[in-house]
């Protein structure tokens, strides 16, 4: 919940900071005061949004300790570092220069002011880099080893963590989504001015800049999204199958373009999975196989294959079942327990025997990597499958909307350059109503990323049930509602203030 709330405000900060910096750069190069007014107007909206982004961000960092205490120890050796670097490298940059950006217009030189604005934009995007590195590591844990003495994962290669393909792609995809959202926001707000026939030059200039920025970043968004899906198929196949609602694996797997899921079928026997069929669907044959592996004949495992194990008929590779993974996970947990017991008993012979297993790469790869499955049993196997409708719909709606954004940017740019945009009132309305859709798409992206990987807080190593603090349910519920209500009130306040500021317009003062 707190991540979703925080993510309401962050994308606009990421993108608008760059757009404001671009506008101020044009002001400095041209000396045209109208560009300064534009810069100040959008910076004002940036400032309002920035404040609430900061407010909702602090809870996220400390929540790793307050609500996920086991997690904090089990992977703190890796996860803490990006958070600390984020503070040192990014937050100070933002906090220091945002003050210059807002209060420095008459106190520092124009060049220093512009530098400050760019540093705020860089700081904001750098902060996204580090938190996304941390998040990517949770989805694809690399550059680490397990130390039984400390009972935790420990970093052995910082660069592996920082430059893991998942981290790089996640960063590009996430900041690109922020850039697109900010572009939609600027285009939408500017369209309102055109509808009201106010500050039209300012509005058209804003549309041109935001549309060009939006088209460019949309291409990055789509490219990195495609790459993200491929990575998911390889590293988180259950999440991939869930977002495609693919129950049975198949070669020449079709891509469901539009689909409506039925209610789940009740299991006929104990241990059977609750399956969901499509009530309606439009699909393109073999496209999923092709998009995933660039081969229309490639085999895509379904949810049932992953649970029960399967042999890929195309590559003949055998994948073990979740039940087997549970056994191996239990063995890994038992080995850790035996190691700790031997340590307590000061039985150094037994200690050495167990220690050797953790030093054996083959055992670590065949057994320890399924540590997290040890927290599940045959009767709870359903807990290893994410919520299918949430994963499926969030993915498909998000993809459809990203296409809509790209089309909108192109159309808005073309008609603005042709100086016909003011006549197309319906298009201006579409642009305004696309603002909430951009927020929806942005939220759905996070929902897919975070709900789709459930139950794992660290892929295959730690499920959420083993990661939490031991705090009574009442306290957790109370804090949940306390923050939910507070954030909702602050959200209402922000929207009302933003609307009031927009209505004041570019010449409305501050």
């Amino acid at each position: 919940m707190s991540a979703m709330f925080h993510w309401v405000f962050v994308p606009l900060t990421l993108g608008l900071s760059i757009l404001v910096a671009i506008m101020e750069t044009i002001y400095l190069r041209t000396g045209d005061e109208s560009w300064k007014k534009m810069t100040k107007f959008w910076a004002k909206l940036f400032g309002i949004n920035f404040a609430i982004g900061v407010a909702t961000g602090i809870i996220l960092e400390f929540q790793f300790g307050t609500n996920w205490s086991n997690y904090s120890w089990f992977v703190g050796d890796i996860f803490g570092a990006p958070l600390a670097i984020e503070g040192i490298m990014a937050f100070f940059l933002e906090a220091t220069f945002v003050a210059v950006m807002f209060f420095g217009w008459n106190k520092v030189s124009k060049r220093f002011h512009l530098l400050s604005t760019w540093l705020v934009a860089i700081g904001a995007n750098l902060s996204a880099l580090w938190i996304l590195v941390a998040n990517a590591w949770m989805q694809y844990p690399v550059g680490t080893t397990f130390n039984p003495m400390t009972a935790r994962n420990e970093m052995i290669d910082f660069w592996d963590v920082l430059f893991s393909p998942v981290a790089v792609n996640k960063f590009i995809h996430t900041v690109a989504s922020g850039f697109v959202l900010a572009s939609v926001f600027v285009v939408g707000v500017s369209s309102w001015f055109l509808l009201k026939k106010r500050d039209t030059l300012f509005a058209k200039r804003s549309i041109v800049i935001a549309s060009v920025f939006g088209i460019t970043t949309s291409l990055f968004l789509i490219w990195s999204g495609d790459e993200s899906a491929r990575q998911m198929a390889d590293k988180q196949p259950m999440k991939f199958a869930a977002m495609e609602a693919l129950w049975d694996g198949q070669a020449n797997a079709p891509l469901v373009v539009i689909g409506l899921l039925q209610k789940p079928t009740p299991p006929k026997t104990e241990g059977q999975l609750k399956e969901m069929e499509f009530a309606v669907k439009i699909e393109i044959p073999s496209l999923l196989s092709y998009m995933t592996y660039l081969d229309p004949n490639a085999y895509i495992p379904g949810i049932k294959d992953l649970v029960h194990g399967y042999t890929n008929p195309y590559t003949e590779k055998v994948e073990i079942s979740y039940f087997e993974k549970m056994e191996r996970g239990k063995e890994a947990i038992a080995t850790l327990r035996n190691y700790k017991d031997a340590l307590l008993r000061e039985d150094y012979e037994a200690l050495q025997e167990h220690k050797l297993k953790f030093e054996d790469p083959e055992w670590m790869e065949s057994t320890f990597r399924y540590f997290g499955y040890g927290y599940y049993s045959e009767s709870t196997v359903g807990g290893l499958i994410p919520n299918i409708p949430i994963a499926f719909y969030s993915f498909h709606i998000m993809v459809a909307l990203s296409g809509h954004f790209l089309a909108l940017f192109i159309v808005m740019l073309v008609f603005t350059l042709k100086n016909r945009i003011e006549k197309l009132r319906w298009l201006l309305y579409v642009a305004i109503w696309t603002i909430p859709l951009a927020y929806l798409a942005s939220q759905l992206g996070w929902v897919l990323a975070e709900m789709g990987r459930q139950p794992w807080v660290i892929q295959d190593l730690m499920p959420s049930i083993a990661a939490v603090s031991r705090v009574d349910a009442g306290s957790v519920q109370l804090t949940f509602w306390l923050f939910a209500i507070t954030f909702t009130i602050l959200l209402i306040a922000e929207v009302k203030i933003l609307v009031a500021q927009i209505k004041k317009g570019i010449t409305g003062g501050h």
Binding site: G57, A81, E94, M155, R470, V471, A493, K496
Partner: protein, 394 residues
């Protein structure tokens, strides 16, 4: 460079960094202290706008230092993060809540159509200033007095026996709020609160160009310095006369498993056995008092914030040194002594501390650009004219 250091040396290095961040944070609490005085020092809207405007240039730095302090603690001593945050749940949640409402208060306070009204956002500032400082001070007090918790890493494997798998389990009755019942903790919390107010006053005297506010600030300086001294001395006496949580080195075992025992006058001995720290502490206290005294005695003096600020940094830094170095448990457990956290048993691995140490080399660079930007903004004091011009006023 850092690769050649031992794990223990890196643990000490990171304790120094944490202590430095904590000490800078307490100095920057002048923002919080100032917030609690906006109605005492500002008697009309314009005066309050000047006071809040002057703090508005700086609140982000305090906030960021708090976040970085948390991040650095997580990266270097993750067991503290999981034990204290996951255990003293309500203390940290209330602190977080106090900072959430602060972050929006500045930006939203005077904006049209701000939903909650100007007074509500001003109340947020006062709540943040009071609750944030008192609770953080009280929570740090437990570094010397201890808390009730257990740490048992084997619990992670309890799933095999069907038991709870949480490593750190809080045994206190109120998820950390019970710390406020301890006189020593509370005296530190109140000392931090009044120190923040003193620093806030000294900051206003330095950065707001208004005769009335200046005169009221001088009066308030005296009023707030007295309770600060009382609570600080009470804390100090209790600290120096109390028993402390000593780590007993064992040449055979891994330092992770060294025993913890109670030792009379442990913190007094820590000062005496670390004379440099003792000198820093004394210098810090003298500087804090010097800044207060010259501001009271020398009419028109506006520079008191600097000696008092530097003194605050030195004092808090040396208190943290005493809490965590010289074989001392910095986060002791009164429920199970052997669960107490030391810099040896709660730190990150040597690899991570080494990697993070390279990152820490950026800190002087960060400090330099903060100082540069601060100087650029503070070259001119906050004036009535600036506030009335309305160019991004808070």
């Amino acid at each position: 460079m850092f690769e050649t250091l031992s794990h223990f040396a890196l643990q000490q290095y990171w304790w120094v960094i944490i202590s430095l961040l904590a000490s800078l944070l307490v100095f920057l609490f002048f923002v919080q202290g100032g917030q609690t005085l906006i109605f005492t020092l500002g008697k009309n809207e314009l005066e309050r706008a000047m006071l809040i405007g002057s703090l508005g240039h700086k609140w982000g730095l305090t906030f960021t230092t708090l976040v970085t302090f948390g991040g650095a603690f997580f990266a270097s001593f993750p067991l503290f993060y999981s034990t204290s945050f996951g255990g003293a749940y309500w203390v940290w949640m209330i602190i977080l809540f106090a900072f959430i409402i602060q972050a929006v208060a500045y930006e939203f306070r005077t904006k049209p159509n701000n939903f909650l009204g100007q007074r509500t956002y001003e109340a947020f500032l006062i709540i943040n200033g009071a609750v944030g400082t008192i609770l953080i001070g009280t929570a740090v007090g437990t570094f010397f007095t201890g808390s009730a918790f257990t740490v048992e890493k084997i619990n992670l494997t309890n799933v095999l026996l069907g038991g709870p798998t949480t490593i750190s389990v809080w045994k206190g009755p109120a998820y950390g709020l019970e710390a406020a019942l301890n006189v020593q903790n509370l005296s530190l919390g109140l000392a931090v609160f009044f120190l923040a107010r003193v620093l806030g006053i000294l900051y206003f005297m330095n950065s707001v160009d208004d005769e009335n506010i200046f005169m009221r600030s001088r009066k308030q300086l005296l009023i707030n310095s007295a309770p600060f001294l009382v609570f600080f001395l009470l804390f100090l006496v209790l600290l120096l006369t109390s028993s402390g949580f000593a780590v007993i080195p064992d040449s055979v075992q891994n330092p992770m498993y060294w025993r913890i025992e109670m030792e009379p006058y442990k913190y007094l001995y820590n000062f005496l056995q670390m004379p440099v720290v003792f000198v820093l502490f004394l210098a810090g206290v003298v500087l804090v008092l010097f800044g207060i005294v010259i501001s009271l005695v020398k009419v028109g003096n506006t520079k008191g914030i600097w000696p008092s600020g530097i003194g605050t940094v030195l004092t808090v830094f040396s208190l943290f040194m005493v809490a965590g170095l010289n074989n001392t448990s910095y986060y002791p457990s009164t429920y199970d002594l052997q669960s107490s956290l030391t810099i040896m048993n709660s730190s990150s691995s040597k690899f991570t501390l080494t990697a993070m140490s390279y990152v820490s080399l950026m800190v002087p660079f960060v400090a330099a650009y903060i100082a540069y930007a601060w100087r650029a903004l503070n070259r001119q004091k906050v004036t009535e004219a600036e506030i009335k011009s309305g160019d991004h006023a808070y």
